[in-house]
Structures are given as C-alpha cells and as structure tokens.
C-alpha cells in the first residue's frame, strides 16, 4: 500500500486533490489576466479620460447619490402597490383560463385574449398608451394622475406573464392529485383551492421571484409619463451638472436591490431542484 501516502488518503483522493488544485490555478490565472487586460486596455482607449470624467465622477456621484436614493423610494412605493395587485390579478386570470363550466366560456376567451395582447405589446408602449391615453379623456383630479394609470399599465402587463407562470404551475400538478381529490367527493372548486393551488403556487415561487425583479426595474419606465422617480431624477441631475454619473449612481442603486433578489431566486430554484431529484 505504498500509494496510500502519509495522510492515509486513497489513490482516488490524491488524484482528485491534484485535479482540484490544477483547476483552481487555471481559473485564478485566467481571471487575473482578464482583469488586468481590462484595467490596462480600457484606459488606453482614446476617449477614456472623457468617459471617466462624465460617467465615473466621484464628486458628482457623492453629491447626487442621496437625492437619487430618495427618488428611488418612489420606485419602491410603486413596486410595493403593484406587486400584490399583480399577484392577485395574475392568479385570477390563470384560473379564468382553466374554468370548465360552459357558462364561463367567455371568461376563458377573455383570459386567453388578455394574456396574448399584454404579452405581445412592449411594456413601454402599454405605459404610453394607458399612461397618456386615459388621462387624455379629461378625467378630474386625482383620476388624471400618471401614478394611477402608469401603475395600471405595469399591473396589466405583468399580470399577463404572472398568469402564464401560475398556469404552468397548475398544469404541473399531476392528474392523479385531481383524481384522488375527486374520488373523495371534493367539489371542483375545493379541489383547486385545497389540493391543486397550494402545490402549484409553491412550485412557481422562484419563477415569480424573477418577475418581481423584472418589475422592480421596469418601474423606471413610468418616468416617461411623468413621475420623478430615480431614472427621471438622474436625468434632471444630468442636465443640471452636465454629467452622466447620476445614471451610474442609479444603476448602482438598482443593482443593490436586484442582485441579492436574483441570488435569492436562484437559491430557491436550486433548492427546489434538489428536493425534486
């Protein structure tokens, strides 16, 4: 047993350790090369000085950051009232698309048409059409507020996607669960409410997390119809200071929220995949 060296490791362990060390060295050196290349090559670009001044200006960053953060609270608020409404509307649309009663057939068609239309139109277009169109009817205050109609545009668009995700979750619950519930004499609505939906919703939580992250970013689109949220505020600073750094500041704020959320969604997904295998 000469191979079983001092530490008492098996041949296999020694071999795997060597492999691991080698891949660590390769990964480390290739990362170093790329980082160095970026650090050296980018500043060599002819316009770097200018870009650095107008996009990565520390003084501007420090000066505008608190204001941006304050404006971001408006994004958070819009997000906070849109998200629950999207969840509710999305679930209702998903259920409407699955109703079997012939009396409710129009609901099915409506559900299908709704998801087709709102998934087929770019968000920004929906925001424009609803955000400018409906207040254009000359509604009295506060019903002409871009907050209301801009939020509605987001809610309608996102509910269409969220509904499709819920529906995929409902369809992923095996038919045998329905059989079991029906064989016990449970009604159709009780079967959906107590047996199908709890399982379906659990399964699509990671996917819905991703929708939330996308929504958080798309709130910025409302800036095009009026609300001075972070993107608009950054634009104001840009004009004021003739410098693009506020946009970078806004990006930093978005990333501070979306990166942890994305990591968390990935974690949930990975956990779910582990449980299912």
């Amino acid at each position: 047993m000469a191979d079983q060296s001092a530490a008492g490791r098996t041949r296999r362990q020694i071999y795997e350790d060597r492999l691991r060390r080698r891949s660590l060295i390769i990964a480390g050196s290739s990362t170093t090369i790329v980082v160095l290349a970026v650090l050296f090559l980018v500043p060599m670009a002819p316009g770097w000085e200018k870009v650095q001044k107008s996009f990565f200006n520390w003084d501007v960053f420090a000066k505008t950051f608190p204001g941006l953060l304050e404006a971001f609270m408006l994004d958070v608020a819009i997000f906070a009232w849109c998200a629950p409404l999207i969840a509710i509307l999305g679930l209702l649309v998903a259920l409407a698309r699955d109703v079997r009663s012939p009396a409710l057939f129009p609901l099915r068609i409506l559900g299908a048409a709704y998801t087709d239309i709102f998934r087929g139109v770019p968000v920004i277009l929906t925001v424009y059409l609803i955000g400018f169109g409906i207040p254009g009817l000359g509604l009295p205050r506060p019903w002409n507020s871009p907050y209301i109609w801009g939020s509605l545009a987001l809610i309608l668009t996102y509910s269409a996607y969220v509904a499709e995700i819920f529906r995929s979750g409902i369809e992923s619950v095996h038919q045998s669960q329905r059989s079991a519930a029906e064989s016990l004499g449970l009604s159709e609505s009780d079967t959906i409410r107590f047996v199908i939906l709890p399982q379906a919703i659990r399964r699509v939580i990671p996917a819905q997390m991703n929708m939330l992250i996308a929504l958080q970013k798309d709130v910025a689109l409302l800036s095009f119809i009026g609300p001075v949220e972070i993107f608009r505020q950054a634009g104001v600073y840009k004009s004021l200071l003739a410098n693009f750094t506020p946009y970078v500041g806004a990006a930093v704020i978005f990333l501070a929220v979306t990166i942890p959320a994305t990591r968390y969604a990935d974690y949930l997904l990975a956990k779910q995949n582990r449980e299912r295998s």
């Binding site: 079991a180 029906e182 016990l184 449970l186 107590f194 659990r202």
Partner: protein, 242 residues
Amino acid sequence: MTKLSLRDVVKRFGSNTVCDGISLDVAEGEMVCLIGASGAGKSTLLRCINLLEPIEDGEIFLDGEDISIPGLDPMPVRRRIGMVFQSYNLFPHMTAIENVMLAPRRVYKKSRQELRPEVEALFEKFGLADRMEHYPDQLSGGQQQRVAIVRALAMKPEVMLFDEITAALDPQLVGEVLEVLRLLKDSGMTMMLATHEMGFAREAADKVCFLKDGRIVEEGPPSVLFENPTDPQTREFLARVL
C-alpha cells in the same frame, strides 16, 4: 344482498375499447379481486365505478340505484365509494391527519375538533397513531398507503375500491398493507381490488374475476378459479404468474 352491480359496462379511449361489456355483481361485505395482465382493464373498471371515467355503454348500480346515468352529479356517489390508488396520491403539502380530514371537513362541513376523535381512532386502528403529524414524504410507502386508506375510510364509504395498491411497494412493505385489507374485510366492508397479489386473492377473496382484453373471461370463488380453472386463457395466465 347485491351492493354493486355492473351490467355490460363498456369504456373506450378513442378507438381503444378498454372495458368490453363487463357484468359483475358484488354482494354486501364481499371482497372481489380482479386479476389479469396489465392493460386488461382492471384499473379502468374501478375508475369507472368511482365515476372518475364516464362509461360509453351499460349500467352501474349501487344499492339498486343507477349511478351511471349520463349527467348525474358524481359527487354524492363518490362519497359513498372510496378509492385507493397505486401511487397513494396523498396530498404532499398536508400532514397525514390533514390529508384525512380535508374531505370530511369540506364535504360534511365538520370541524377539526368534531372529526379528531374518529380520525384518531382510525389512525390507531391501522397502526399509524404516531404518524398523524408527519408529511407524506416523511412516511414509508406502506405507511403512505395506509394513510391513503384511512383518508378514504374517513368519508365512511359503503364500498372501497383498491387499484393495485401494493404494486408500488417494496416487497417487505406489502404485508402491512394487505393486513389492513384483511382488517377491513373482517369489519364487513364491501371491497373490490385490482391486484397482482395472487396469494392474497386466493386466500382472502370471496370471488375472483380473471380479465383479459376488457372482458371477464372467468369468475368464481378462488378455490375454483385457482385450482380448477375451466377456461384455457385463465389456465395460461395462472401458469405464468403462479
């Protein structure tokens, strides 16, 4: 007294005839075993009796009452006929006791407190007293299947249908589930089983039906069907499985 009666039951899936004119009587308190190769129509027949599948032709009577009338509300019938499946089909997001109490709570509008004593007694009776608060994935296959049986019994059915309920179990777990069936038979339950457990059918059934291609080829008490089958197809099948 005849509890369940099938008259020329026909079930098709598209052009595939799965039950091809099946007639059968099940007396009160009787245990009838359906045997035959996979695809012979055993499971489908049970699903038809529980009205999970509509039948194309024929009639099914429960206590002399036609339950196969097209358009009849299936819910009240299903409450009277319990069914247990090969793959247990427990609800994975509920504990064992919640699985059992869901249908009585919703259908009979009883509260958890009202149900608790009788449900606990059922768990006790089937050796599951310490498994009530477990989730299905924390239970062995045999325990899950016993919970599924308790779940069906909690609706106080008059007839129980068992669709190859030991087929998915590890061999050493089959015994505990068959034991439950014996217990049920002793309590006077009317039962129909689709099964591959020939030893059990031979020993416990009152009547055994051999199905092939959606028809009952031969039926009779196990002593006759297993010892002296008259039909050559029955003999051929038994020679392969025994």
